[in-house]
Symmetry: C2
Subunit: 355 residues, 2 copies
């Protein structure tokens, strides 16, 4: 990697914070952004001097390749503040590794580790007042890279922009969700880039999700595109099933995102002595478990929602309502994970990183 | 569709054309753009007053959804000028229908037909001097739609921008190409959106193509993601095979773009009395045909390259060099199609549209 020695970040501060205009009690997800943003451009084969500037619009040529060929990858992270006013990230090394894994699959240049962490830490310190303490409050962090090169030639770009923008967040989902198991539409192909956090993995989900919403479901559980017989992921979350007291989730593959919340839940469950099976899961197995009463829970796991309980699922025209569980795994995992994230519990895994 | 009655286009002309700075003899594909561009914004559930303005940069919020979730579709068209100075489009109704088909799959709003054609015709008349006569010269036209709404919430946007930008073009490919048949990577999933001209279908191809280039191939012929046994398309072109005197191409599906050049070639071939088979084609059948001497030609078909002859292909570590054909189908089709496009031949299909 070139530019191994990080350059000093050029910082331009805002004149006046806009924070007083923000109602922190009523935040829609991802609509309000902090005072500053991090920018680093890739030109002539090198990442240029990183900058922190006031949050504001980008100016791009209409032929910039991101608009035409979807060369764009991103990450989702959160910063959490404890009651003492200290700020923490959760396994940020995993986000850093993954954005470069995503970038590689989209023929985009690797971003240097030092730039990533220097940029992130400097930005978080500058916008510290936007990170509110209180369980459930967080700062959602969106690192992303876009192809900026002007030219509609269908090949990888030579010019990119890496950015970090931050948005104060409350909880992402309100209430339990109903999900529809995909029978026709697919999220990702074998040999494709479903494992990458790439822009192109999302746009194709909105239309099937819109159709699912018309049937009363909020999300889709994607199945394998070859047979639609195996459950994969929920598009913005990985999916877990509890059958009796066994926790099941699909193995990651080139179609499934290697979710950080997913792997953290697996680690937590194993440490707690739960029976965890990471293996292909047939939809029919889930339906059978529902029918014989052994399907206790389904829940999604992801950075935005942490753990999102599923109250019902639809499949082949049937609707399956799950019974509400006392002492659910979902609530146990959500609390265990958040206790670590918010510095309320011992972090035996070393996942927490102080900013 | 709302706004069925087209609004007058607001036109802001350039002060001085930049055309004198352009070397029309040495045009790289898609790098130089004409003086004006067409813009129409979708806000509050309606397409707003369309505008033609000087070509220039866009200003977008860093959270605009196109950067994060890939909601972006496009078309590729060309305008051709004959020796009398008249300008023609080729089957533009097909492009119009397809951009809306692509948009629907990505949960984007339909663009009104009147706006599309009024915008396109007005823009082409305004930038007429950029369309050079001469066989092979053209104006490449890129209509596209991007999600502009600022918010990193993972759902379809409420705000979009439709644009048309134009770039003077010579021929897209120089010389015959060598292609690698995909064995591991895939372009598209069954149940996905491979049939759409969507940004997300392109970014994933660049990395496998980069690996193919390292082996001396310029393009990839994609195979079905389930088995990798059937040929599909070349990513920016559909693919034809000539076995003896039969022309073969794969049927379109939800994974394969319904190419306008593709369907025009099929119509031309059938009219000419050629034997045409549109059916699933196994890679093994192509290899067998090569081995027994019946594989005469392979060529790609698409708007940018028109017809692009393949001189060799690679598959499972073997390299297959095709013999150069006298009176090739590729050159026959290329000339026949271009004669229609450039108003040099009778257009019995009614494909040509005068601007």
């Amino acid at each position: 990697m070139r530019n191994a020695v990080p350059q000093e970040i050029e910082i331009t501060k805002i004149n006046e914070s806009k924070i007083s205009q923000v109602d922190f009690e009523n935040l829609a997800f991802g609509k309000v952004f902090t005072d500053h943003m991090f920018i680093c451009d890739y030109v002539n084969g090198e990442w240029q001097t990183p900058k922190i500037v006031p949050y504001g619009p980008l100016t791009l040529d209409p032929s910039a390749r991101v608009f035409h060929y979807g060369q764009a990858v991103f990450e989702g992270m959160k910063a959490y503040k404890d009651d003492q006013g200290d700020t923490f990230l959760f396994r940020p090394d995993e986000n850093f590794k993954r954005i470069n894994k995503s970038a590689e699959r989209l023929a985009m240049p690797e971003f240097p580790e030092e730039y990533f962490f220097d940029g992130l830490n400097t930005l978080l310190k500058l916008d510290d007042q936007w990170i509110k303490s209180g369980f459930g409050n967080s700062l959602y962090i969106r690192p992303f890279v876009i192809a900026t090169q002007p030219s509609v030639s269908a090949s990888e770009a030579d010019e990119y922009r890496f950015m970090i923008i931050c948005s104060p967040a409350q909880s992402y989902y309100s209430g339990d969700v109903s999900v529809l198991v995909a029978e026709k539409f697919s999220r990702s192909a074998s040999g494709g880039f479903g494992y990458a956090k790439a822009a192109g993995n999302y746009a194709g989900q909105f239309y099937p999700t819109k159709l699912a919403k018309e049937q009363g479901y909020q999300q889709i559980i994607w199945t394998d595109s070859n047979t639609h017989e195996y459950v994969e992921e929920a598009g913005t979350m990985n999916v877990f099933f509890r059958i009796n007291d066994t926790l099941l989730t699909a193995p990651v593959s080139d179609r499934i995102l290697d979710g950080i919340t997913r792997k953290s839940l697996i680690a937590l469950a194993e440490k707690q002595g739960y029976n965890v099976e990471v293996r292909p899961i047939k939809v029919s197995e889930v339906v059978d478990a529902f029918n014989n009463g052994s399907l206790k829970e389904i829940f999604g796991a992801g950075t935005a929602a942490v753990v999102s309980p599923v109250k019902a699922f639809g499949y082949k025209g049937e609707h399956y309502e799950l019974e509400k569980q006392e002492n659910s795994y979902a609530s146990y995992f959500k609390k265990s994970l958040m206790d670590i994230q918010y510095n309320k519990a011992e972090d035996s895994f070393g996942w927490r990183t102080k900013v």
